[in-house]
Amino acid sequence: MDMPHLREALGEECRRLCERYGLTQAYVVEIVGLRRHYLAGYGRPTMDKPEHLPLSEKIALFWHGTVPAEEQAGCTHELQDLAERWEKEALSGKSKYENGKDAQ
C-alpha cells in the first residue's frame, strides 16, 4: 500500500491547492467503508467540517476552506490522474512489500 512517489505527488498537489485558494488544509483519502483513510495532504485541519469531492471511485479530496464550486472540477485534474494511478498501482497492484520486506 505504500507508494511514496504517489503520496508525495498527492501531497504536492494539495499544497498547490492550499496556496491557490488559501485553504488551511487539503488532503486525499481512500474510501474504505465508513473509513476515510488518509493518504497524503498539506496543512492543518480547522474545526470546520471539511468539504469533499470524489476524485475517482475510491479516492476523494477533502479540504478546509473554500474552493469556488465552478472551479472545483477544473483545479483537480492532476489530482484525478494521481487518484486513478493510486487505484491502479496501490489498490490493485503489488506494493513494494508484496513479497515481504526483503523484496524491496
Binding site: 500500500m1 488518509y38 485541519p45 474545526m47 470546520d48 512489500y97 526483503d102
Partner: protein
Amino acid sequence: METTAKTFTATNTELTPEAVAWRDSRLERIRQWQSKNGYAPFIDETGIQTTLEENRRPPREAVLDIVEKARANASTGEMLTAAEVACLTAVEDEAAWEAIYDAANWIKQTVYGNRIVLFAPLYVSSPCVNNCLYCGFRSKNRAVVKRTLGPEELDEELRCLVDAGHKRLIMVYGESPENDYRYICGTLEAAYKLRKGPGEIRRANVNAAPLFVEEYRDVRAMGIGTYQVFQETYHKPTYRRVHPNGTLKGEFDWRVFGLHRAQEAGIDDVAIGVLFGLYDWRFELLGLLHHAMALEKEFGVGPHTISYPRLEPAEGTPFTTESPWLVSDADFKKIVAIIRLMCPYTGSILTARERPDLRRDVMRAGGVSQMDAGSRIAVGGYAQMNREHQPDRQQFLLGDTRSLDEFILDLCREGYLPSFCTAGYREGRTGANFMPLAKHATVKNFCIANGVLTFQEYLDDYASEAVRKIGQEKVIPQYLAWLDTHNPGLGDRVRGNLQQMFKEAARDLHF
C-alpha cells in the same frame, strides 16, 4: 460468513485433525516469514534490564524534572526516553507519585479534554488453536466452552449493543480455522450493516491474531477502526514459557512485528498492549515504549492506543492466580500514569476487568481516555446474560459489571463528558493526519465538540431519566461553556447542531 453457528474445532481437549492441519500449515508459513523478516529487532532484554538497573534510585529532583518534561511533551508529542521511564518506575516517594498522577491527568486533559470515549467489547469467536497458559480460551481448557457466533447470533449481539446506545466496538476473535480473516471480514460487514432505529455501529476495532499482509488487506477493506495486537509480554523467556512451542502464538517475532505488517497493509491505526502480571511490569513498560518508538521510526505513526489489561482469574486456569508477577492495585495505578507520561499522544484504554472503585481512581490519576462499559465477555453474552456472569464461557472474569447507563451516570457525577465519538476516522483524521492533532494537543477541540453531540444522541435515544437529567442540566451546558472558552464560536456551532438534532431528529452530526 457461514450460515450456521459452529462449535469448537476440538473435542474435549484435542484439536480436530482439520484444526491441527490448519495450525501446522500456518506455523510453517509463519516461520518462513520470520526467516525472511528484515525488520530490526527493537526488544533488547539486556539493554532494558540495564536501563532499569542504572535508574534504580533516581533523585527526587530528577523525577520532578522528568515530570515537567512529560508535561511539555504534551504539546509536542515527544515520548520520554527509556532511562526516564525507568526512573519513573523506580519512584518510591509518595509526594513524587502525587506529582506523577497530577501530570498524567493534566496531560490527558491537555491532549484530549475531559471526555471519556466509550466502547464495548464484542467476543465473536473463542475457538483457538493456541494454548496460552493464562487464557481461559486456550485449546486445552475444558472448563470454558468455546463458541463461534453464527449470523443470527451475531445479529442478536449487535442489536443488544446498539439498543444500549453503543456506537463503537472492539470485536475479539480467537485464532483458529473457524475465525480466520475471512470470518473476521464477514462479521465486520455484519456489524457495519446493522441499522436499528437511530442505532448503528460507527466504528469497529479488531482484536485478533496477527495476520499476513494480504490477510490484513482484506480486513482493512472492511473499513475497520484500529487493529489491536497485544504482545502480552516483551520478555522473551516468559513469552516462550506461557506460549508453548508449536503453537502459532509461540512465535515471538511473528507477533512483535504483527503491527508492522498491518502498517504494510495500509492499516495505520494500530494498538499495542501488555498483559500485566506475566512478567515484571517495569520491564513491560519499557517494552511498550520501544514498540511505540519502533512503529514511529518505521512508519512515522505511533500506536493509536495502548492497553494494559491485568491478569485476571479465569475458569480452569490456575496460572492466572499463581504468577509471581501479579500486579497490585497500587502498582497498576502507577503503570497507567507512567504510560500517559511516556507517550502523551496515545489513547489509553482502561477496561472493565478492573473494579469500579479502582476504575474511578485510575481514570483520573492515570489520564485514561477510553473505557468500556456494560461489557459482556462471554461469546453470545449480551443476548443471553443480563447481569450474571457466565464463567464457563468467558476468557477471564470481569471486575466492573455496571450497565452502560449506570457507568455513564457515574461519569457525569464525576464531571466527565461521556463520548461516543467516532468522527475522526470518518473524516480522514487517521494515521499521519491524526498524529499531529494528538501530538500538538489540538485534537481536544474535536473531542469535546463531537463528545457533546454524541452524548446528546445518547440522552435523546437511550438514557435513563437520571442520566438525561444530569446530562441535560449539568454536563452538556458545562462542555458547551468549555467550548465557548477554549474555541470561541465553536460552542455556538455545536448549539446549532443540537438545535438541528432537536428540530429535525438529525443524527450523526459531527466535526
